[in-house]
Subunit: 328 residues, 2 copies
Amino acid sequence: MGLTIYDIAKEAGVSASTVSRVINSRPGIKKSTREKVEKILKESNFSVSEAARGLVNQTSRMIGILVSDIRNQHHIEGAYMIEQHFMKLGYCSLILNAGDTDESKADYIRILSSRRVNAVILIGSAFQNSAVEEAIKDYIPNTPVIFQNGVFSLPNVSSVLSDDVAGTYEAAAYLYNNGHRHIAYVNGNDTPSNRKKVQGYEKAAEEFGFEPLIKVSEDSAEGSAAVTETLVNEYPEIDAIIYAVDLLGVGASRKLLDLGKRIPQDIAIIGTDNSPFSMLSNPRLSTIDTKLQDLSSACSEILEKAIENPTYREHLVITPSLVLRETT
Amino acid sequence: MGLTIYDIAKEAGVSASTVSRVINSRPGIKKSTREKVEKILKESNFSVSEAARGLVNQTSRMIGILVSDIRNQHHIEGAYMIEQHFMKLGYCSLILNAGDTDESKADYIRILSSRRVNAVILIGSAFQNSAVEEAIKDYIPNTPVIFQNGVFSLPNVSSVLSDDVAGTYEAAAYLYNNGHRHIAYVNGNDTPSNRKKVQGYEKAAEEFGFEPLIKVSEDSAEGSAAVTETLVNEYPEIDAIIYAVDLLGVGASRKLLDLGKRIPQDIAIIGTDNSPFSMLSNPRLSTIDTKLQDLSSACSEILEKAIENPTYREHLVITPSLVLRETT
DNA sequence: GAATTTTTTGCAATCGATTTCAAAATTTTT
DNA sequence: AAAAATTTTGAAATCGATTGCAAAAAATTC
């Protein structure tokens, strides 16, 4: 345990420099010594200390992935793609699940700074706040950062986000154009992203001239079921509801069927995100596809360029599209 | 950028040792110097290099979490609990998504060894193979390891697993005792865990005297739908099916309804794992609850003890229980 | 105010690698 | 076989922290 290159060197009767050169397959080592050292390396199950190596090389070969909620299928999907992509390039991923408050999220930036990660990815619009922005400016001003689903006006931060306003607007427009006149909106947690979705809904309401009606649900199927029940009891004229998240839509559709409503004849439903389970639900949920897959792969690519060329920046906006299934 | 304690020391007119003592709140520093140093530390946004620190202290303050498929809701739930638990204790989590082959999984053990993680968690029975076992023995023989859903007979490996044989057995027994006589089983990927589930099914078949009928599906709702369709067409007498994974059960129930079968009157269905969406599906899926939540929290606790006391080991088996919902 | 005790501080070694530069070993050329 | 050119190798400095030990400074005692 805890073998160092000096131990290997002694064993092989060479110097530590030579061992290091063998490990890193540097040129200029006699074939016979190289083989001798390699043999001992294998036999003794030696593994280099990345900490020591990182210290000299001034790099950690780690990527910091900050996720606002790792249990969220979309977030983890994004983290997965990045982890896979960079593992191939020899990087490890520090995946951290950010805390609740803005300040605690900023703390995580400091942690990543201490770990000297080569790049940082923020996944989730919840990072859109000044504490995090300050922390980036102060602690990792030269580390390439990419913000999935948010924007910072900092020189080292790229961004990739879906146009939430447009997505919801389009959904509302579709419903209106298909004869719905009482279109309600059920929001989830108060996040920057969800606020933009509401904007899109309000914009459609104003443009098409229907009365906006917005309720807020906690982020669970049960919460949504409850909110939806109240909603349709209070406003029986409602003939369509848009949900800020697919999970809410699924919880609601279930409840509406229980209440004897027919979907989509009595009430049409549209969720958001095209989550894996939206297709599994019964009836299959129509949804606003925010193209998270595309977002994530764009992230990987941008980040790779940014690591190679520290001045590379990019700001990408992806327009969502409607996926019509059985609830519309 | 890249400030060191020497920079801070110079700025404060003290030695690096003093700065280090302030950073680590060591005793024996005059209040006035401490305050002076702290002020400069703040102002200059200094952050210690964990790599350098780890080198002297012989610790990385990192936990390695190896997951066989991070996109699997159960796996990520387990990783999440551990990440949260250890972040509070000042550890960062290296979450790695293991490769496909046994050998590539073993490679990840070597990577974690290089990173000198303080503990390793394996999540998923896919790690149950000799390549991984060898790698642990060779590369991290003194690092506490905990295997969620598998067992190794190594002195440094604890384990926490659900009794897969018992779970499936119980499900089959329940069905049999409720009048079903043609109980089929649909398996998923070939993993040690799934093999044990099959054993439980076969055991029940033998004990209760019904004819075992096993099909294999790929791990997707569509795959399961296809397999299920063939199955019921070929064997119309089937009146119950157990699925190795909830996802398969959900995909199947959907297809069965499309085929005009009534659930559970014509065919009863039981999934496995009590996944979040099993409750959301329509009809709500009955399932074998493998108590993954309990498993994960047990992991955190055991691991914490093992880090404090490197000889601590524990082997925990949790018995699954049936959750009966609308498909039985 | 000198001597003693106690508090603070800094020097230098250390952790485990990498890398430059010069020395040693080998090969090639005369 | 000596000189020159080339290939291999190793000694020592470095990365950025921590820490034991001794020295310096301050506080206490006489």
